[in-house]
Symmetry: C2
Subunit: 187 residues, 2 copies
Amino acid sequence: MNKEDKIYEAALSLFTTKGFHGTPTSAIAKTAGVANGTLFHYFKTKEELINSLYIKLKNELVVESVDGVEKIDSLKLKLEFLWSKSIHWTMTNPKKMFFIQQYMYSPYITSSTQEEVDKIKEVYVDLIKNGISKGEIKDVPIDLIYIIASQQLFGMTQYLVMNPEKYHDSEFMNTAFNLFYDIIKKV
Amino acid sequence: MNKEDKIYEAALSLFTTKGFHGTPTSAIAKTAGVANGTLFHYFKTKEELINSLYIKLKNELVVESVDGVEKIDSLKLKLEFLWSKSIHWTMTNPKKMFFIQQYMYSPYITSSTQEEVDKIKEVYVDLIKNGISKGEIKDVPIDLIYIIASQQLFGMTQYLVMNPEKYHDSEFMNTAFNLFYDIIKKV
DNA sequence: ACTTTTGTAGAGTGATTAGTCAATCTGACA
DNA sequence: TGTCAGATTGACTAATCACTCTACAAAAGT
C-alpha cells in the first residue's frame, strides 16, 4: 500500500477512536509508518487531511453502492439494491461509516467539502425525483425524503453493527428493508 | 445567571461552532465572563465539562417533551405529542439539538455518560413495548424501532431547521408526523 | 549522463493549551 | 466579631502539537 493510503488508514482509525483533537499528526504518521514530514507532503494541513478522507469515503460508499443499479428496472428493486449494497459496505467497513456519521456535521468539515459531497448525492436525488413523478414515491420535498431516508439507513446500520447476527437473517433483512421502503412509498 | 450556567452556555456555543478541540478552555471562560480557574472549579477537566453538558441537554429534551404526556390515552396521540414536543424543543433550541447530534457518537462522550443517558430513554422504550404488546406497533426489536424512530426525528429536525417556514405549515407538519408514524405503526 | 521533479525523512520551533496554585473575596453561621 | 467553607481570580507551567526546514534519495524526463 502506498504511503498516502497508509496515512488515510491510520487517520481513519485514530480519528474514530480518539477524535480529531485527540490524535496528533505525529501519531497518525507513526501509525502509518511514515515520517512526520511525509504526512505534510501529501496533505497541506491536518484539516485538509480530514476533509480529503471524508470526501474519499463518501465517494467510495456511493460508487460501490451504485455499481450495477442501472441494470434494474423497477424502482422498488433499485432502492432495495442500493439499500442492501450500502448496508453491505457498512458491514464490511464499519469504521468508515462510523467516521462519516461522526464527522458529517462537524466543524472540521468545510463548506466546500460539503458542496463537493452534495454533488455525489445527485444519483439518489434523481432516483427520488423520478419516483415522485411516476407516483411511486410520496410527494413530499426531496430534501426531506433524502434526509429521512439516509438517517433511516444510518439507524439501521447502527443496529446491525450492534447486532451483526441479524445481518445474515434474511427474514429480518426483508422486514428491515420494508421498514425503509414504507416511509417513502406512496400508499 | 450563575457562573456554572454561563460556562455551560459558552461551551455549547463554542463547541458547536468550533468543535471540541477548536475551543480552548480559556475561550470558554472568556465568553462566559469568568476566570480561567473558575471553570476548573466547577468542572475537573474539559472532558467532564462536555460530558456534563451532554447529560444536561439530553435530560432537558426528555423532561420537556414528556411533561404532560401521561394525560393522553391513545398511543398514536401520545406519540404525536412527544414527537411535536421534541420538535418544538429543537426549534426553540437548535444549538442544543445540534450539539447532541454532533457529540452523540463522539469519543469525548464516555461510556458512563452514555449509560446514564440510556436510562433516560426508558420512558420511550416502555411506550414502544406497550404499543407492541397491544399490537399497535410493528413487532420488531425494540432497539431497532428506537434507533430508527430517533434517527427519523433527527432527520426531520434537520430539515425543519433548514426550512423553518415549514414548521408553521400545519398541513406539512401533519404529513411529517405521518411519515414518522407510518414506520412504526402496525399495518 | 544530467537535470528536474517528486517522495521521504526527522529534528527543530514557536505558539498554544489544560490544568495548577496561592491568594483574595464572599457570605453563612455562631 | 471571628471563623470557615466555598467561590473567584489570573498568573504560571509543563507538556504538546501543527507545521517548517534542510537534506537526501528515487524517479522521471530529456
